[in-house]
Symmetry: C2
Subunit: 158 residues, 2 copies
Amino acid sequence: MSQHADPLTLEVVDLIASVVTRYHEEYEEAACAHNLTGAQARVLSLLSHRPMPMRKVAVRLKCEPSNITGIVDRLEARDLVERRPDPSDRRVKLAAVTEEGRRTEERLRASLDFAREPLARLTEQERATLRDLLRRMLGENAENADEDEDCRDGDAKD
Amino acid sequence: MSQHADPLTLEVVDLIASVVTRYHEEYEEAACAHNLTGAQARVLSLLSHRPMPMRKVAVRLKCEPSNITGIVDRLEARDLVERRPDPSDRRVKLAAVTEEGRRTEERLRASLDFAREPLARLTEQERATLRDLLRRMLGENAENADEDEDCRDGDAKD
DNA sequence: TATTGTTATACTCTATAACTATA
DNA sequence: TATAGTTATAGAGTATAACAATA
């Protein structure tokens, strides 16, 4: 380990670190502008796709389920999120955005200009190139991390 | 606002989000493997370049100076960092890595394979292309966010 | 008077463990 | 017995405000 990569690779690493830093700063800023913490914004954004069991939210956020209780509590206290029973399993509570939660999430998303605005500096051809390079960097298994992978019930109950 | 970008742009945005997520996960993991929090690892890494006044650390981490007191306290309790007086201004305390801190930081850095390993999937030509695209995305002012901008004293004392 | 670092406080996020109600 | 969600607890990061030492 500690093998030193070539200068080009190191520069790309640095650039990626800059992207990461900038992305996070803008995300926190946008969340803060709506009186949300980063974690609250992530949960709100996640639930805006579809209602989801508390446990699944924890899995998506990669944190312990007990933490989701508090985060959803705070969102629920502001009427951005609500807990609904799951008809098929009375142990489960489905966290779901309210109408106001959806509006807040839309405003939040609209203010997340980071990725859009700098991308406008690139031509369409360049964006396609960037897409291909990022895809290959991330591997074939990561292209829809936020949209698709949790559509299945995964329970196969009947 | 809330203007919907073209599908290509949205996909690139998604890919960047994946990069950001993965980078952070790996960073936290690497820090955790050395019994460090993310913030502690960032401070350690920052100080490994050179000693720095507490206040400057706060500026670099974009948080309030009072927080740095606690983070450096915890690093100092483990002999990874020490506080030194600044001969030129007795108000200032310079935070500096110890020998053990430097060794820890080196091991930490060596374990941060994320950016190196996936980059190996690209040819040198592709990495150069990626570098150019990221540079243009970030703008001309961001190419050395972690290495260079704090070399100046900024005080012009003498 | 302004600046550096610290303390005190409050809030949020986090993991762990124990609890409950369901399955 | 196992699972979903909660509670309680402790540690860490964060911002704010007030403070001592120094400039």
